[in-house]
C-alpha cells in the first residue's frame, strides 16, 4: 500500500471522531475580554446612533468577536506555488551542500587536527553545512525571484535564472542551463527529465533532475554533481500534510550523510526543520530568522545525540563582516541546556566572489586574530 494512502486513511479515520467542540457548560469558563465590547456597543446604541451606523459598528464588533483572541497560528507546511520553485529550491540546496562538501575536502589534515575539540563541536559540525541553505531560503518572504530567459548557450535550449538574498541583503543569482528530455503528458500530469549546468558565482555544477509520478504522487528528484562519485541528491514528494526534501550526500561513491528538511510556516514565518542521521549520530535542528534591535540572526533550536551523548539547546548565528577585508564569517553562539555557552567562528565566504580564492587552501596561518576558523571559545 502507498505511503500517501496509508496516511490519508489513518488521518481521516481518527479526525472524523474527534469532537469539534466539547460541552463546556460545566467548565466555569468566562467570556473573553474582547467579548465585553458588546456592552459598550449597546450603550452607544442607546445614545441614538442611526441604523446604518449600528450596522457598521456591529460588523466591526463581530470582527473583533470572531477574531481568535490570541491570534493562534498553528504550524503549517510551506507551499511551493509552482514546479519551478521546487526545482529552484532543489538546485539551491543541493549545490549549497555540495559546495560545502567540496570546501571541506580542501581542508588539510593539519587544519583538521588544529580544531579544538569540545562537546559542542559536533553540534556545530552537523549544522554547518545547512547554514548557507537556510540563510538563502529564509531571508526571502516570497520565495525566489525566478525568470525564464532565452538561452545563450547553444548546447542548452532552456535557461532559468533565480535569485535570492543572503542574511546581509546581498542578491545571490543562480543560472540554470538545461535540456528537457523524456517529457511526457498523461492525464494532465506532466513528467520530464532534465540535464544541464547550474552556475552561481564562479562555481559551475552539472545537474540532472526529474519529475515523475510514483504511486499517484508527484516526485521531484535533483542531483548536483562534482563527478559521478561525488554528488548531493534531493527527493521531494508533493504532499498536503508536509513539505519535505530528502538529501543524500555521496563522497567517493559512499553515502556519507542522509538528512530530511521540512519547511513549514509558524506565526506567518518560514522555518526549516532538519533531521539527520549520520552513523550512530542523529538529531534535529529548527532554523528560524529573527531580528532583534535591527540585527538579524539565524536562531536554531537543536536536539541531537552525538557520540552517545544527548544535547539540546539553542544556537544563535550571526554574520560577521570584517571591516578591512570585507570577508564574512559566521559567529555561532551555542547555548546548551546544561547552561554551557560556546562561541565558534566558521568560514562563510565562497569562491563565488572572491578574487583570491585560489589561495584559500594555504590561508590558515595568514589570518589575523579575527579569523577563528574552527576554534571554539568557552565564554
Amino acid at each position: 500500500m502507498k505511503d500517501k494512502h496509508i496516511k490519508k486513511i489513518i488521518k481521516s479515520e481518527i479526525e472524523n471522531h474527534i469532537p469539534e467542540r466539547l460541552d463546556t457548560s460545566g467548565f466555569g469558563l468566562t467570556k473573553s475580554v474582547t467579548a465585553s465590547k458588546k456592552s459598550g456597543l449597546s450603550m452607544q446604541f442607546k445614545y441614538g446612533f442611526s441604523l446604518a451606523t449600528f450596522v457598521i459598528i456591529f460588523i466591526v464588533a463581530a470582527m473583533f468577536l470572531f477574531e481568535p483572541a490570541n491570534d493562534p497560528t498553528p504550524v503549517q507546511p510551506y507551499t511551493f506555488k509552482a514546479d519551478n520553485e521546487v526545482v529552484s529550491f532543489s538546485a539551491m540546496s543541493t549545490t549549497s551542500l555540495l559546495s560545502y562538501t567540496e570546501s571541506q575536502n580542501l581542508l588539510t589534515e593539519v587544519s583538521k587536527l588544529s580544531m579544538t575539540q569540545s562537546e559542542a563541536d559536533s553540534v556545530v559540525d552537523y549544522v554547518e553545512p545547512y547554514l548557507k541553505l537556510s540563510e538563502r531560503f529564509l531571508s526571502q518572504d516570497n520565495g525566489f525571484l525566478i525568470r525564464e530567459v532565452t538561452s545563450d548557450l547553444l548546447e542548452y535550449t532552456n535557461k532559468t535564472e533565480f535569485e535570492t538574498l543572503d542574511a546581509l541583503g546581498k542578491s545571490i543569482k543562480y543560472t540554470m542551463y538545461y535540456n528537457i528530455v523524456n517529457q511526457d503528458i498523461k492525464d494532465d500530469e506532466e513528467t520530464y527529465e532534465m540535464e544541464g549546468l547550474l552556475i552561481y558565482g564562479k562555481k559551475t555544477y552539472q545537474f540532472s533532475g526529474s519529475k515523475e509520478i510514483e504511486e499517484d504522487e508527484e516526485v521531484f528528484e535533483f542531483t548536483a554533481y562534482i563527478d559521478a562519485a561525488n554528488y548531493v541528491s534531493s527527493k521531494h514528494k508533493v504532499e498536503e500534510e508536509e513539505t519535505k526534501f530528502e538529501f543524500k550526500t555521496v563522497i567517493n561513491s559512499i553515502l556519507v550523510e542522509e538528512s530530511v528538511i521540512e519547511i513549514e510556516i509558524e506565526d506567518d514565518e518560514k522555518e526549516i526543520v532538519l533531521e539527520f542521521i549520520k552513523g550512530n549520530d542523529y538529531g534535529t535542528y529548527k532554523f528560524k530568522y529573527e531580528t532583534e534591535d535591527d540585527i538579524t540572526k539565524l536562531s536554531i533550536e537543536f536536539d541531537v545525540r552525538t557520540n552517545g551523548i544527548e544535547k539540546d539547546g539553542e544556537i544563535e548565528v550571526y554574520v560577521i563582516v570584517d571591516e578591512v577585508t570585507l570577508e564574512t564569517s559566521y559567529k555561532l553562539i551555542v547555548d546548551t541546556d546544561e547552561d554551557e555557552v560556546y562561541e565558534y567562528r566558521r568560514d562563510r565566504d565562497e569562491d563565488e566572489d572572491d578574487e583570491d580564492d585560489e589561495d584559500d587552501e594555504d590561508e590558515d596561518d595568514n589570518d589575523d586574530e579575527d579569523d577563528m576558523l574552527s576554534d571554539s571559545v568557552n565564554i
Binding site: 505511503d3 486513511i9 489513518i10 488521518k11 479515520e13 471522531h17 493562534p72 544527548e310
Partner: protein, 170 residues
C-alpha cells in the same frame, strides 16, 4: 509543541476563547493518547471531556517552564488508565479484539477495515508513534520527548511501522 505562557496565564483565568484555542491545538494529541489505551471512540470522547475539565481544575499545579502539551497529554494518559482500572478491563488485548474494538458506525466498511488492519500490524508503541506523527503532525523529537524514548528509536520505529503497513493489502 510549545504553548506560549500568555495563553496558559489566560487559561488559569478560565478564559473561554483561550480554552477553545488550546482545545483546537491539542485535541488530536489528547484523542490519540486516550484512544490508544481504550480503543473505543465513544469512550475516548467521554474521557476527553474529563481530561479538559481536569486540566482547568489542576492548572494551578502546572509548573511553568515545563512543556504544557506534555503535561496535558500525561493527564489524558492517566485518565484513560483510570478508566480501565474502574472498568476492570485489561489494557493489553490481542489482535482480534483490537480489530473488533476499533469498529465504528461512522466509517465506510472498506475504510474501517483497512484502518483496522493497518493499525493491527503495529505494536502499541509503533501505533502511538504513527498516530502522533500522522494525525497530530508532531515532530519525531517531540514524540520522543513525549514518550520518553530516544529520538533514534522513534525515527526507527516510525520507519518500521510504515514498512509494515505498506505490506498490508487493500
Amino acid at each position: 509543541m510549545v504553548i506560549k505562557q500568555k495563553y496558559i496565564d489566560k487559561l488559569r483565568q478560565r478564559d473561554e476563547d483561550t480554552f477553545e484555542y488550546i482545545y483546537d491545538l491539542t485535541k488530536k494529541g489528547v484523542y490519540i493518547i486516550i484512544f490508544n489505551i481504550v480503543k473505543d471512540h465513544e469512550v475516548t470522547r467521554d474521557i476527553m471531556q474529563d481530561v479538559y475539565l481536569k486540566m482547568l481544575d489542576s492548572i494551578g499545579s502546572y509548573q511553568t517552564k515545563t512543556n504544557f502539551y506534555n503535561w496535558l497529554l500525561m493527564i489524558a494518559k492517566n485518565q484513560a488508565i483510570d478508566y480501565y482500572r474502574r472498568e476492570k478491563k485489561i489494557v493489553h488485548i490481542d489482535e482480534t479484539d483490537f480489530i473488533e474494538q476499533f469498529s465504528s458506525q461512522e466509517e465506510t466498511p472498506e475504510e474501517k477495515d483497512i484502518f483496522d488492519r493497518l493499525l493491527s500490524v503495529l505494536s502499541e508503541d509503533e501505533r502511538q508513534i504513527v498516530l502522533l506523527k500522522i494525525v497530530d503532525n508532531l515532530k519525531h523529537k517531540d514524540i520522543a520527548a513525549l514518550l520518553n524514548m530516544p529520538l533514534g528509536t522513534v525515527l526507527w520505529m516510525y520507519q518500521e511501522a510504515l514498512k509494515k503497513m505498506k505490506e498490508v493489502r487493500e
